[in-house]
Symmetry: C2
Subunit: 319 residues, 2 copies
Amino acid sequence: MIAPRVVLLCGGVGGAKLALGLDRSLPPGDLAIIVNTGDDFDHLGLRICPDLDTVLYTLAGVVHPEQGWGRADETFTMLDELVRRGGPDWFRLGDRDLALHLQRSLRWRRDDRLTEITADLVAQFDVHTTILPMTDGIVATRLDTDAGMLDFQDYFVRRRCAPVVRKIHYEGTRSAVMSPEVLQALSSPRLERIVIAPSNPLLSIAPILSIPDLSDQLRSAGVPIIAVAPLIGGRAIKGPTVKLMQELGMQADACGIYEFYTDRCAGLLDAILIDTADGHQASKIGCVVACTDTLMQTMADRLRVAQSVLELSVKGGRP
Amino acid sequence: MIAPRVVLLCGGVGGAKLALGLDRSLPPGDLAIIVNTGDDFDHLGLRICPDLDTVLYTLAGVVHPEQGWGRADETFTMLDELVRRGGPDWFRLGDRDLALHLQRSLRWRRDDRLTEITADLVAQFDVHTTILPMTDGIVATRLDTDAGMLDFQDYFVRRRCAPVVRKIHYEGTRSAVMSPEVLQALSSPRLERIVIAPSNPLLSIAPILSIPDLSDQLRSAGVPIIAVAPLIGGRAIKGPTVKLMQELGMQADACGIYEFYTDRCAGLLDAILIDTADGHQASKIGCVVACTDTLMQTMADRLRVAQSVLELSVKGGRP
């Protein structure tokens, strides 16, 4: 039975840090994480779900500590051999990582639901937080750029986000629906708040929000929705958030994040947690604002930001 | 254009030794090897072709030198991780080996022909001998045993050939046909002899012979068919040949090998190369017999046996 007190919407590396902070701050069963699958793709016949894996590896304590994704103590014997034989080298598939991809791909091709496959993988790693793909359907983030229309991994990994983005498409959202498990999490009688991780709003959170019934359910859940801004002093910790926001004509700072979730997402936010360095922007933000040091370098940082999110007082939350 | 002077019918480890001897004895293009695919199976969503891989790795000089199959300098990081998470450990999938399985499986699922996939893999390893799967169809060796009907790898790897075999089935042979490339090899205007490797006759060669049009084509190729006996003094170098022959009521020695290819395979043989130790059996064999030391431990051994096969004089070969 999925009956969390807190639901987190989450992408990969940045979001996973808050996921870990919340996981370690809450009793087992109190947290459910809805993870972006817009980055998922097929490579070498494997079904790869980068954000799901990053969240799982992070919570399991086996993630590469500096990189923030992939496995610690990873080796690349398969990849080295593949490349020696002329295979593609742009996506760094590690040997340990492969054990997970092989298991998932086998079941994916048998048409098992990604939610069920993920639950079984999560159990293998002794993780007790619920990790849910945003949908069992296929939603693919694609980017209309000055280098043409690009698949997400082509843009993000192969081209290292260099092309200028004109528009982002979340393909498949018209027919994608949330899973019964996502509905269950968002209908939890114990639900107290929904948290939007400090992930890239355009690449990690927007795909989740693009699923119509999931988006509706968020709004009707009757609990405050709280975002953690992924920018500090107008800069991202990692990744192309600022570049992308600017290319799409957005203000790349805490205000811009607020505006994105308000204007483009029909007033989704009840509160936002921003960095202390951005405190001066609070007056321009039309929802509850709290400030803390949002940089999450250490475990103590992750716990502190998690605590701020959990304690953030949102008066007059939705009915 | 496939126009060999010599065609070899071959299984895995034992046969691959002669394959290597012939490969090193003949100019490029003069040898084509038709390989058993009755052992092929699906594992972890990968299409695995053990005999094709053993022959390829052997000719490429990357085979594990003691084992005779799999890769030299192999690591098992993926497998260790898989087993740690509760996955199956009975089939030893190495990291280097995976690079090949992933490439093949991807194309296999796209319905590319195994012959074409194999040709591309062979080219990756700079091997210039033609390596042909016996068919592009699916033929599966299954064993009726005292432990029930078993898939080949279940019997051979997981149960280490312990069950007593009552009958062997080559499933799929009714609809399987030889590939255009096998026909081309067997119709080569330059063809001088067909060699049957010292492989397990029941598990490695019989599946090849079970394909009706391939079997017919062997007989009508108009060149001598020469077998190399896989037993020395009534013992196999490796594997369950003796146990299996005995369980099926056959005489487990050079005579039994001859009888198998004669009685069960409608007089297939024109000549047989047996070990010097079995010379006393020559008088009981009704085709041309030659003797040499057939044990192939060193490269010199492989070359010597290959030379014996190539020089074996078969007077009055077929029209």
